[in-house]
Symmetry: C2
Subunit: 196 residues, 2 copies
């Protein structure tokens, strides 16, 4: 059974991802949960505390999506293809109401306005980059990838391209840009990273 606190976090996670931190007011949360102000502040000190918990909730969902996709495959090549496919799944099967990548959405939303949330989004993006770096290094060590691969550069650009393409696809109301990014990155992987 979902506790009241869990319900508040879940609903707020949807609202924050849809509207952003500032545009999501306590009234929105009250309306979505059917709770009164006191019923919410019984569980949280303030909106900031809800926002942090909501980010953690969305972050856990992003992690779960990657874990589920990555758990199906084994080799470094398959793992990197699965990372790309996990991003593509963000459009057809959204992680959370509001769509897109909740970590990147928070990064955009919080950069100028909420240092604490921004730091959390920064750490989330860093975690994803580190995972890609780690798989690239594993592939190099296993002799599956060329040892000339510039690990940090490839990881950073892969994440930037996929995150940028998700936003483009959302604003263009179609999957085209994200599918092109996916095709391109897979081709890059097979042409420039995998040893032949």
């Amino acid at each position: 059974m979902e506790t009241t606190k869990e319900k508040i976090v879940k609903k707020s996670a949807e609202l924050f991802n849809t509207y952003g931190y500032h545009a999501c007011s306590l009234s929105h949360i009250m309306e979505a949960t059917g709770l009164k102000k006191g019923g919410i502040y019984n569980h949280f000190k303030n909106k900031d505390e809800i926002a942090i918990e909501a980010f953690n909730y969305n972050y856990d969902r992003v992690r779960a999506r990657f874990k589920e996709r990555l758990g199906r495959v084994n080799t470094p090549t398959e793992k990197l293809v699965a990372v790309i496919d996990a991003f593509v799944s963000f459009i057809d099967d959204p992680i959370v109401q509001g769509g897109g990548c909740p970590i990147f959405n928070t990064a955009m939303d919080a950069t100028n306005t909420h240092p604490m949330l921004k730091e959390k989004a920064k750490a989330g993006i860093e975690g994803l980059k580190k995972y890609v770096e780690w798989k690239l290094m594993e592939g190099i060590e296993a002799g599956e990838f060329s040892d000339r691969v510039e690990v940090k550069k490839v990881a950073s650009l892969m994440v930037a391209t996929l995150e940028g393409a998700i936003v483009m696809s959302r604003v263009e109301d179609n999957n085209d840009c994200l599918m092109m990014a996916s095709d391109y990155l897979k081709e890059y992987l097979f042409k420039n990273i995998i040893k032949h």
Copy 2:
């Protein structure tokens, strides 16, 4: 001399790019302009009307930045390099307070919440992609670029990569990702687009 209306648009353009549409309230605009509510609504029907004018103002500044950079060079290759360099300049020499690319910021901010602003951001991104497509086609026709270049794909991915990298650089508080994207795209241009 700047009119009161121009002053409101300019200040609002900075505030909307910094905080987003919803988080920027009339009080923010009143404080930034030193005007009372009546002094603002004397010139605009509502906040929406201000937001549209503010977007146009930011969009014109983005266009001016590209125009200035692109006006310095002539060939299709130089034009595409100038597009990349114009994006890089968004970090060191921000277009408008709040930083990043105001068109992409609006796209993110408005996708779920403001259909009219979203359409404007969509048209802005489309315009930029079209410019890159046009330069690619010019280069192909002039025999400067390979005729195997997939014009729409390259334009879309170039814009997605640069926009994604700007956000990454902002959240990471350094230029690394954007500089890597710039280096990578220039290398791609010279290796895969220019005819040898």
